[in-house]
């Protein structure tokens, strides 16, 4: 669940049907319970980090908190601040080193997905972008152009509605819609469930259209071979710098809607330069779903990926 965009884990739906009860219920006293400070509560955090009980993060700028955002010339910067003092305790307590990744559970499920895909020779691509970049149109055009040569299946992630899955099914490809409810991203568990509910042929292409969101999906490995970020030329060319995590996580950037370039003041070279500042290894292709310009390179890239998709051995490197 996301405090930034307000998403939650409830109301998850597959093709409009509620997820099974095996999905974890909200824990009482956590998500469903309103946060409240306890009267007379001493700081549980130690002096390095006074709690701002009930305070919004944004209010914290005025406190003397080491984690508080830095306010410089009208800009609140939550990304900097000094390290915390680490005061050693003197109890009979026991210090245990555990070294566990916070996203380890998702990454474990993603590794299982990756292995499942590799043994079947399925190339999975995780398509990420802001809403309205033309992901679904791009998918429909891709499916149409691959028809007869490469079987394609699609997993659609949206907060609500089955509109996108219906558009994909109209092309003849099987599609499963995941409605994340309050969620802002797909995670490895949701995608693993989708594998069991959608018929995905061996040696096929699986396109996973993530929730339109340039922030949260960057952190969640689904088991895909590549994240493909789509930036349409109707968006700002500075987006790679404004949302760097997604461009850093992607292997390929598709600069889409290039047929509109004559009508816009969009500097293609600048956009690509910004994207490569964030990720020097990023491959970039320009294309238009309306005119088909640039599709040959994109389809060749997919075919090369399919050729190397089958791996009988377990895991490919998950992330860098």
């Amino acid at each position: 669940m996301c405090t930034v965009c307000g998403c939650g884990s409830g109301e998850l739906r597959y093709n409009g049907q509620p997820a099974s009860q095996r999905d974890k219920p909200a824990r009482p006293g956590t998500t469903s319970q309103a946060f409240r400070p306890r009267a007379g509560d001493a700081s549980p955090w130690g002096q390095a980090a006074p709690p701002r009980a009930g305070a919004r993060a944004r209010d914290a700028a005025s406190t003397a908190n080491a984690d508080a955002p830095v306010d410089t010339a009208g800009r609140l910067d939550f990304g900097s601040g000094p390290a915390h003092a680490h005061a050693p305790g003197l109890s009979q307590a026991q210090m245990v080193r555990i070294e566990r990744d916070i996203l380890g559970k998702n990454d474990l499920l993603a590794a299982a997905n990756r292995s499942w895909l590799a043994t079947r020779g399925i190339l999975a691509l995780n398509l990420v972008s802001s809403p309205g970049s033309g992901k679904t149109t791009l998918l429909c055009e891709t499916i149409t152009r691959l028809a007869g040569a490469v079987p394609v299946a699609v997993i659609e992630g949206d907060q609500q509605t089955e509109f996108d899955a219906e558009r994909i099914r109209a092309t003849g490809a099987p599609a499963l819609q995941i409605n994340t409810g309050k969620g802002c991203h797909l995670d490895a568990h949701m995608v693993g469930e989708a594998f069991r509910r959608l018929h995905i042929a061996d040696d096929s292409l699986l396109l996973i259209e993530n929730v339109g969101n340039l922030v949260c999906p960057a952190a969640f490995d689904l088991g895909e071979a590549h994240k493909v970020v789509i930036l349409s030329v109707t968006e700002g060319e500075d987006k790679p710098l404004k949302y760097p995590d997604m461009f850093a996580a992607a292997d390929l950037m598709l600069l889409s809607k290039t047929d509109l370039l004559p009508h816009l003041r969009f500097d293609v070279a600048r956009a690509i330069d910004f994207a490569r500042r964030v990720n020097p290894r990023l491959t970039v292709m320009q294309l238009s779903s309306s005119t088909g310009e640039g599709f040959d390179a994109w389809l060749d890239w997919i075919r090369r990926g399919l050729a190397g998709a089958r791996r009988p051995t377990a895991f490919q490197e998950s992330r860098t």
Binding site: M1, C2, T3, V4, C7, G29, T30, Q33, F35, P44, W45, G46, A48, A49, P51, R52, A57, A60, D67, A68, P69, F78, G79, S80, G81, A83, H84, H86, G89, S91, A93, Q94, M95, V96, R97, I98, E99, R100, D101, I102, L103, G104, K105, C184, H185, V215, C216, A218, A219, P240, L241, P244, D245, A248, D273, F274, R277, N279, P280, R281
Partner: protein, 121 residues
Amino acid sequence: MHEMSLAEGIRSIVEDSAHSHDSSRVERVVLEIGALAAVEVEALRFCLEVVLRDSVAESAEIVIDPVPGQGWCMQCALTVPIAQLYDPCPHCGSYQVQATGGTEMRVRELMLAATHDQPEH
């Protein structure tokens, strides 16, 4: 981003580890959060305070050790410090810098109370 998901992940790791060490109370949780991990420490602390309530780590001290960002400059063939993913190399000014460190989000260690020290509730 999604600091609440992360806080729930931390609670689950802390509860598992405390359980496997037969401990019923956690006094301190030490996290390592990389400067390039896209985590707002402020928001994470807020979420942890809510999520750890009624858990073995209720009122545990949360220590967050920041890990500085590091990148590999392809021009200089050197590891250099960076504060943002799009920072240039401080030596040559090139943007051919690939992030190599400071992307971690990890529960590093826990201080577990002695087993006879039961929680009050």
